[in-house]
C-alpha cells in the first residue's frame, strides 16, 4: 500500500512532533544542570558552609555585575570597558596568529623544502609555554597593547601551525592524483585540493587557538594592564573583593563559550560538504 497525501502529511507531522519533543527534553536537561549548579552554589553560600568572602553567592555576583555596569570601583573601569579591552587584546592576538600561523603551517606541510627548513625551529619554539615569553616580551616591547597581543599570539600560533601542517599532509593521495592527471600544477593542486581538504583540521586548530588566546588573557593582563577582565580580577584580589574576582572568571567563561559557539557556526557552514 502506498502512503501518500493526507496520510503522509500526518505521519510527517507526527514524526516532527516526536523529534521536537526529544529536542525539548535535552534542552530541559541542559537548563536543569545550569540551574542545579548555581542553585547548589547559592545554597552552600547561604548556609554559611563556606565564607562569603572566599566564595560569594551567585546572587551577590549578579549584584556586583549590575553595579559594575555603572560603577568604576574597585578597578577604575566600567565593566564594558574591561570586556572591550580584553576582547581587543585577545582577538588581535588570535587573528594575527591565524593570519600568520595557518598559511605557514599549510606551506610547511605541502612544500618539503619549507618543511625541512622551518619545522626544526618550530619544534623548538613549540614547547615553550606562552607565559614563559612574558619577561622577554616586556623587555622587548614594554607593557603596552602590543606586548599583550604578542603573548596571546604565541599561545594561538602553535595550534594554528600544527593543525594546518598535519591537515594538509593528510590530503588524500588519490585527490592529488586526480588533480595531477587533469594537468594541474603543484601550486594549483595545493590551492584547489590541498587547502580545502585540510580545512576540517585547520578549523579545529583555529578553534583551539581561539580557546587558548582567550584563556591566556589573564596571564597577558598581568602585565601592568590598566583595563581588561584579567586586570579586573587582579584588582579584585588586591582589594579583597572575591565577588569581583569571581565575576571576572564567570564572564571569561561565558564570553569564551559564546566565542566558541559563534566559531562553531562558522565551521559548520564552511564544512557543509562533510
Amino acid at each position: 500500500m502506498e502512503i501518500k497525501g493526507n496520510d503522509l502529511e500526518k505521519l510527517r507531522l507526527d514524526h516532527k512532533k516526536i523529534e521536537n519533543r526529544n529536542i525539548f527534553k535535552f534542552r530541559i536537561l541542559t537548563v536543569m544542570t545550569i540551574i542545579i549548579f548555581f542553585g547548589l552554589w547559592q545554597f552552600v553560600a547561604d548556609q554559611g558552609i563556606v565564607d562569603s568572602r572566599t566564595l560569594p553567592s551567585p546572587a551577590k555576583i549578579y549584584e556586583t555585575f549590575l553595579a559594575k555596569l555603572t560603577k568604576k570601583a574597585p578597578d577604575g573601569n566600567l565593566l564594558s570597558a574591561n570586556i572591550l579591552a580584553s576582547l581587543q587584546v585577545s582577538l588581535f592576538g588570535f587573528f594575527s596568529a591565524v593570519i600568520i600561523g595557518v598559511p605557514l603551517g599549510l606551506l610547511m606541510g605541502w612544500y618539503k623544502i619549507l618543511d625541512k627548513t622551518l619545522t626544526p625551529i618550530f619544534e623548538i619554539i613549540r614547547p615553550i609555554p606562552p607565559i614563559a615569553w612574558i619577561p622577554i616580551v616586556v623587555v622587548w616591547m614594554g607593557v603596552g597593547l602590543s606586548a599583550k597581543v604578542l603573548i596571546i599570539f604565541f599561545s594561538a600560533f602553535v595550534p594554528c601551525v600544527i593543525n594546518s601542517y598535519t591537515g594538509i599532509q593528510l590530503t588524500n593521495k588519490t585527490f592529488i592524483n586526480v588533480s595531477q592527471t587533469f594537468g594541474a600544477s603543484n601550486f594549483t593542486t595545493f590551492i584547489k585540493v590541498g587547502i580545502p581538504s585540510s580545512l576540517p583540521m585547520v578549523m579545529t586548530g583555529i578553534k583551539i587557538a581561539l580557546g587558548n588566546s582567550w584563556s591566556t588573557l589573564v596571564a597577558a593582563e598581568m602585565l601592568a594592564a590598566s583595563a581588561g577582565l584579567g586586570f579586573m580580577i587582579q584588582m579584585g584580589r588586591q582589594f579583597a573583593r572575591a565577588d569581583v574576582v569571581v565575576l571576572g572568571m564567570v564572564l571569561i567563561g561565558v564570553l569564551g563559550a559564546i566565542l566558541s559557539f559563534l566559531f562553531s557556526s562558522l565551521e559548520k557552514y564552511l564544512l557543509r560538504w562533510k
Binding site: T174, F175, V178, F182
Partner: protein
Amino acid sequence: MEQIKTKKVEVRNLSKIFFQKNSSFEVVKDVSFDVYDGEFLVLLGPGRCGKTVLLNMLIGTETRTSGEIHINGAESGKPSPAMSMVFQKKALLPFKTVMENVELGLKFQKIEKEQRRKICQKYIDLVGLHGFENSYPHELSGGMQQRAGIARAYAVSPDILIMDEPFGALDAQTRYQMEEELLQIWEKERKTIIFVTNNIEEAVYLADRIILLSSCPAHVKAVFPIELPKPRDLFDPEFLRIREQIETQTDLSL
C-alpha cells in the same frame, strides 16, 4: 572485415622497480602492448599485481624505471589533456559538488565558465545524474559517485580514457548496470578506453581485446581478442567458454 587500425597508444618494454632501503621490488616487468583507436581494451590481472602502477605510468603521474610510452605517436611522460582517468573509488573531491567535480579538468584548462557548464551538463545528463548537479559526493550512492567520476573523465574530451577498476567497490547489481551503461556511452562517444579489472566476467563482457597480466611483477601473459557482438549475454555458451579459457590461465591473487 578488418579495418585499418590506427595505434593510439604504444607501450614498449615498460618496467617499474620500487627501491627501498635494502631491497628492490619489481611491480611491472617488461610490458608491451598497443591500443587501437576506438578500442575497448581491458587489462585483466589479479589484485595487487601492479596494474595501478602501470596506469599511473601511462597517464604520467608515476615515473618509469625503463621503457617507452607513445601516445598518438609522440613520446609521453607527463599528464596531457589527451587522456583522463576514472579512479577506483572515492576519488570525487568531497568539498566540491557534482558539477564542480565534473568541471575540474576544464577549469584547470581555463575554459570559460559558461562553456564549461554546458559541456559538463551534457555529460552529467549522459551518465544519468541530472538533478544532482549541486549535491555533494557524500549525498550520493556508490554507483552515482562512479557515474560522476565517469562524467568528469569524459568532460575534458580526452582521446583516451583510462579506467582503474571503476566498478570494483560496487555491489553486484549496480555493477552489471554500470557495465551496461558504460558500453552505451562508449558506443555513443567512441573513445578509446583502457579498462583495468580483476574480474574475468567483467572483462569478457566489456572488452574488444583482453590483455591478461600475470601476478606480481605484472607482465603480459596472453592476449585474447573477444569477437562476440555487443551487448553480450553473460550465459551465452560461447561467452562462458571464453571465460573458462581465460580463467584457467589466470594467476590466483593472494
